[in-house]
């Protein structure tokens, strides 16, 4: 199914950025991630293409400062998908290889000029980027 131009433009923007960007549809399926995001996922977009939410959401674990797993409902992207509003949060992520990293995430909804909610974008910032 062809994507609306709002999603295409977000992909084109992400392609130009040096920070990790993830773009999802309205249910959280991963439509695109840029090269800096490949480093976090440990996967290449060219190899995986789009990924269903069940797959990509298990690639890393989200934890708080004390190492406790975060409720997915607390994550910015999930909140954006649920409420169609922007969110921000700093937390820790642990990859499948056990690598832990402090990360800040900004997320925003993609709502085009037709007023229709089309998906969401999550931007990951490493503390050194802030």
């Amino acid at each position: 199914m062809p994507y609306p131009i709002e999603i295409i433009l977000n992909r084109q923007l992400a392609d130009c950025l040096a920070i990790p960007v993830f773009i999802t549809d309205t249910t959280g399926n991963l439509l695109f991630y840029n090269e800096p995001a490949e480093e976090i996922l440990g996967e290449r977009y060219e190899d995986t293409g789009e990924m269903p939410v069940e797959k990509w959401s298990t690639i890393f674990k989200s934890k708080d400062e004390s190492g406790q797993l975060l409720d997915p409902e607390e994550l910015p992207l999930v909140k954006t998908l649920n409420n169609q509003l922007p969110y921000f949060k700093t937390f820790w992520i642990e990859s499948l290889r056990g690598k832990s990293e402090k990360i800040s995430v900004s997320s925003y909804p993609i709502i085009g000029r037709t007023g229709v909610f089309m998906g969401a974008v999550a931007i990951f910032w490493r503390p050194s980027d802030e």
Partner: protein, 277 residues
């Protein structure tokens, strides 16, 4: 479906002898099928469309891809707008901030125009459209927003089992990697896919485009690639740059033909030409 190209020049009309063969009027295409008449865009080419006093087509539908000047400049000179027996429907992109009437009204008012919008004496009906399909008489039209500065449509016109895709202003290669060779990630793909005929923006050469990214237009090379990815049967390159002479267009056509990698037929759009689909 009969298609007549009344304006294929981009940005600003030209009237030099050097541009006479391909034509100097800006975007306007007439479509006729059975008793239905559509006009796509109201650039200066619309001045070629004449009706007798009795208006063989009482209802006229004008579909505007967008409101840039080269697509509406001829509107104020379209005689049926001043004929109280005519019924004119103008279709244009919806906006979240202003109505279509308010936006067109900014142009049809002093100091830009001596004529106010309210002075059109025909029965005038405005339609604000979004991503949608609709029927006008025997013709079905699909409108989709495409990549170009400001709300801009591509139109997929379907009649008599044929498809004409119309995207005169389009920058599908906008971004660091240019055209993405996956139809799902190509702006306007729903409009264009498998069309019998596509009229598409080709204002720049690839070299010129490198210096004009973000201006909202397409290179000839990208237009060919885009049409080929979307399995277009015939392509017309249009929105010719106002500085491009006839001889330059001829030269560029031959150059493109020599380097073309697909066997899709294509041509440079010529003002005044008629095509039967």
């Amino acid at each position: 479906m009969k298609i007549t190209l009344w304006g294929v020049r981009g940005s600003i009309p030209t009237s030099t002898p050097e541009t006479k063969m391909y034509g100097g009027n800006t975007s306007c295409v007439q479509i006729e099928s059975d008793d239905t008449l559509l006009i796509l865009d109201a650039g200066t080419g619309i001045q070629h469309i004449h009706f007798n006093d009795n208006l063989s087509h009482r209802r006229i539908d004008i579909l505007l891809t967008h409101l840039h000047n080269d697509h509406i400049q001829g509107l104020g000179f379209f005689k049926p707008l001043f004929n109280q027996d005519a019924e004119v429907h103008i279709w244009g992109p919806a906006s979240q901030t202003q109505t279509l009437r308010a936006r067109l009204g900014r142009y049809f008012a002093p100091p830009f125009s001596p004529i106010y919008f309210r002075e059109f004496s025909c029965k005038l009906i405005l339609h604000e459209i979004s991503n949608e399909s609709f029927d006008i008489g025997s013709i079905n039209v699909m409108a989709n927003f495409i990549l170009h500065p400001g709300p801009t449509f591509g139109f997929r016109v379907m009649a008599e089992g044929k498809v004409f895709a119309y995207i005169p202003d389009h920058e599908p290669a906008l971004g660091s990697k240019g055209l993405i060779e996956n139809p799902d990630w190509l702006s306007g793909s729903q409009i264009v896919k498998n069309a019998d005929l596509l009229l598409h923006d080709a204002q720049f050469t690839a070299e010129e485009y490198a210096a004009k990214q973000g201006w909202g237009h397409c290179s000839m090379e990208d237009a060919l690639k885009y049409a080929s990815i979307l399995n277009v049967q015939h392509l017309l390159l249009a929105h010719h740059d106002p500085d491009r002479t006839d001889s330059e267009l001829d030269r560029l056509y031959h150059h493109l033909k020599e380097s073309q990698t697909s066997d899709m037929p294509f041509a440079m759009a010529v003002e005044g030409s008629e095509i039967i689909l």
